[in-house]
């Protein structure tokens, strides 16, 4: 009996968390897991904070998780990692993109972007930091940032045995397959393997 694992992907509306979650879920299904994924549509997509939850195991009941129940938190934006950190198990891990998107109060100079977010997270949990935007840009398209983070997540979670390239091919347009596969591997290379 494989224990159910919970992954929480968070970011800002428009960052591609949903596509990353879809590829992740498809790969896990192909690998024979029962999978549930939950996402929120609507109002939050207008530049707001977004979250997607993916759970997998032999038999998954709840599609959602509560505070303190996440095995791995993947944050596409630095401050969002801090917003959702309370959902992580104390022994869980964080994969965080070293990338800042100022929210509306910050844009208007009514609030300041918090200082040393990554440092704070590192003190609280086992954390993998990567600059997915830089990696994606070096590959030629900043939009591939989400797949860089997916690669990092897969490595950090120890899910490298699954045929992820196939899952990517099934979910992106033909002309974007190559760059996304490169982005995926670059993301894997950017973090260390999870301890067993």
């Amino acid at each position: 009996m494989r224990e159910t694992k919970s992954i929480l992907l968070v970011g800002v509306g428009g960052q591609g968390t949903i596509l990353a979650s879809k590829i992740l879920s498809d790969g896990l299904v192909e690998a024979g897991y029962d999978v549930k994924m939950s996402e929120i549509h609507g109002m939050s997509q207008r530049g707001g904070s977004v979250s997607t939850q993916v759970r997998y195991g032999d038999k998954v009941y709840s599609p959602v998780i509560g505070k303190g129940q996440t095995d791995i938190l993947v944050s596409f934006e630095a401050m969002e990692a801090l917003r959702y950190l309370e959902y992580l198990k104390p022994e869980g891990r964080v994969v965080v993109n070293d990338y800042k998107i100022p929210s509306a109060p910050i844009l208007m100079a009514k609030a300041d972007y918090p200082e040393d977010v990554i440092g704070t997270i590192k003190k609280k949990a086992k954390t993998h930091v990567l600059d997915a935007a830089k990696i994606a840009m070096e590959l030629g398209n900043i939009k591939a940032m989400n797949i860089v983070l997916l690669g990092a997540l897969v490595k950090a979670m120890g899910l490298t045995d699954i045929d992820w390239e196939e899952a990517i091919r099934n979910n992106v347009k033909d002309k974007f397959v190559d760059i996304n596969i490169k982005a995926f591997h670059a993301g894997m290379d950017a973090v260390e393997l999870a301890e067993a």
């Binding site: 609507g42 939050s44 207008r46 599609p63 509560g66 129940q69």
Partner: protein
């Protein structure tokens, strides 16, 4: 073959496989994707209706004509459709009919979190509640069979986490179903008082049969484990409960929840030592259990506000808090949704917000965000269509009691078609001098770009008549009508000046496509796409923040420099900031 589907996709697949002939809906989160996923099936006539009442009635008409039909809406949509819903409860159906209603516990995208299960009980309509996508698919088919066998409308109640969660679903084939013959039957569908009186008698007889069914159907089942604890649950709450209690409890899982299976509940309760009822929102099942004289633990511990999850259930029932990481969350800055860069609503609210002594009654759509910081140009948002009628009532009283205040009502194109038209008729008929602004962005925006009667296309992609808003407005009796380009601040300003001076009701229509809309053939003929980017000359910028106060997500005020900066990746070149800058520090490049 198994596929990972959302509950909404599964409902669409279920409708297809069950041979549904006709489906209609008005978009509304979390129900929108049901019709979007039915639309590609050419075997099914699939339509966006102007509102939920029309959607329900169209599906009901199809059922009377002998078709298997489906209507879908969000919870508050059922409030709009409640009138035909209650009467359909009396008449029953010809072809099977299922009404899918999606509640939104947690108010992810809604103005209330009503528990629509009470509607089924209130209208005496059979109800099913799926817990996951496979059940959502299977229950559509089952609902249609029940509908035809018992001659009843069937309501299928979903919630956000059932609609928008993906789980594995076995994909099957479509089973073609023949239209049932239509036979004129006044005693069934001609609901004059004398007929309705008899229909009510039949309805009560039908409910007795449905309760027998509820006690026998496999949709309600018991899973025996340890009998110290018994859990009664339905919908996604069952999945949460199953996660919390595991095999340490026995479950009465309810999929058919109106009428509730009283015998089954009694038998289950007798066999367990402690009984919990785990349900999201209101104590719908719990009240029934208690009315049977059975003790149980439910809402005295489990919250009836917001959505649940396994952690909330465990904490509320057992008082043990799940360990979490302790940190200072107060440094995290809010990230509210905002109008997109290039949104044609931005300039409108920027200009309107500058007017003093105005009550602005708003409505439901992306433009509701015009009430948020920094635009702050809205006083109320109540429900679909309410902007105009609320504005009318307010203005009548303000005028009668000599309070000197103008009222501006703001409504979107799709919302105007939905229920705004009736309200504007009230303004003309009962003579209030309000200014109605119809923000026509050529699409139903908030729910993700659905066509509507004004776009020139149907849900299934056919070209159709484009309903003309100025003609409707004039036909209602509004004499003063202006259409403006909302990307041009001067046009907006002039229109407001003109309208504020009038002593009769007026309508200002802003017409420009949503910044995210993929332009249709019609749009391409009418609108020039935006080009270029805006750029700030930092030598000229005086740090007055006017551009920042448009709330554009592409503009940031840099505190250390006391100057604004534009993010070129986000800017779409709408030129609003260029127009509000008092020192001409912003210009367009790359046109």
């Amino acid at each position: 073959m198994k596929k990972l589907l959302t509950g909404n996709e599964a409902v669409a697949l279920g409708a297809y496989e069950a041979g549904v002939h006709f489906a209609a809906a008005y978009p509304g989160t979390p129900s929108t994707e049901i019709l979007e996923n039915i639309a590609p099936y050419k075997e099914i006539i699939a339509e966006w209706s102007p509102n939920e009442k029309v959607a329900f009635e169209a599906a009901f008409g199809a059922s009377i004509a002998g078709a298997r039909s489906l209507a879908a809406m969000k919870h508050v949509g059922l409030n709009v459709a409640a009138d035909p819903f209650f009467t359909a409860g009396y008449t029953g159906v010809n072809g099977g009919m299922v009404l899918v209603v999606a509640d939104d516990p947690g108010l992810h995208s809604s103005q209330n979190e009503q528990d629509s299960r009470y509607y089924a009980k209130h209208a005496k309509v059979a109800m099913l509640e799926p817990s996951n996508s496979q059940e959502a698919k299977d229950m559509v088919k089952k609902a249609l069979e029940i509908s035809e066998k018992y001659d009843t409308l069937v309501m299928m109640r979903m919630t956000t986490r059932v609609c928008h969660s993906k789980s594995l679903v076995e994909v099957g084939e479509r089973q073609e179903v023949e239209l049932r013959p239509y036979v004129k039957n006044l005693q069934k569908y001609y609901v004059a008082p004398a007929v309705a009186k008899q229909l009510h008698v039949k309805l009560e007889e039908r409910l007795k049969k449905l309760e027998e069914f509820s006690n026998e159907t496999e949709l309600n089942y018991i899973e025996w484990n340890d009998r110290k604890i018994g859990v009664i649950s339905s919908g996604v709450a069952y999945e949460y409960a199953r996660e919390v209690f595991g095999r340490n409890a026995s479950y009465l899982k309810l999929g058919f929840t109106y009428p509730l299976p009283s015998d089954m509940i009694r038998n289950f309760a007798r066999e367990v030592e402690v009984l919990y009822v785990v349900e999201e929102l209101e104590p719908y099942i719990e009240e029934h259990v208690k009315a049977l004289g059975i003790e149980c633990i439910g809402k005295e511990r489990i919250p009836n506000i917001w959505e649940l999850n396994p952690e909330i259930i465990a904490t509320s029932l057992f008082g043990e808090k799940t360990p979490t990481i302790d940190y200072d969350k107060s440094v995290v800055v809010n990230r509210p949704p905002t109008l997109c860069a290039g949104c044609p609503h931005r300039g409108f609210f920027y200009e309107l917000g500058r007017r003093k002594n105005v009550m602005i009654t708003g409505d439901i759509g992306c433009y509701t965000l015009g009430g948020a910081d920094p635009l702050n140009a809205m006083d109320t948002t109540i429900c679909m269509g309410a902007s105009i009628s609320v504005g009318h009532g307010a203005k009548k009283v303000l005028d009668r009691y000599n309070k000197n205040m103008r009222v501006v009502s703001v409504i979107g194109d799709s919302t105007f078609f939905h229920t705004g038209i009736n309200s504007l008729m009230d303004v003309v008929y009962n003579k209030s001098n309000i200014i109605t602004c119809i923000l026509d962005n050529r699409v139903t925006g908030m729910t993700g770009h659905q066509d509507n009667p004004g776009t020139g296309y149907t849900l299934q992609g056919e070209m159709t008549e484009m309903v003309d808003i100025p003609s409707i407005v004039r036909a209602l009796g509004i004499k003063h009508v202006r259409t403006v380009n909302p990307l041009k601040i001067n046009e907006l300003k002039e229109a407001f000046d003109w309208a504020f001076e009038l002593n009769e009701p007026s309508v200002i229509i802003t017409r420009y496509p949503c910044a995210l809309k993929k332009l249709s053939e019609f749009d391409k003929k009418e609108f020039e796409p935006l080009k270029g980017k805006c750029e700030i000359d930092s030598n000229k910028c005086i740090g007055c923040k006017r551009c920042v106060n448009t709330g554009c997500p592409a503009i940031q005020f840099i505190k250390s420099e006391r100057k604004s900066r534009i993010d070129k990746v986000q800017c779409v070149g709408c030129n609003l900031c260029v127009q509000v800058c008092p020192v001409n520090a912003i210009s367009k490049v790359g046109e």
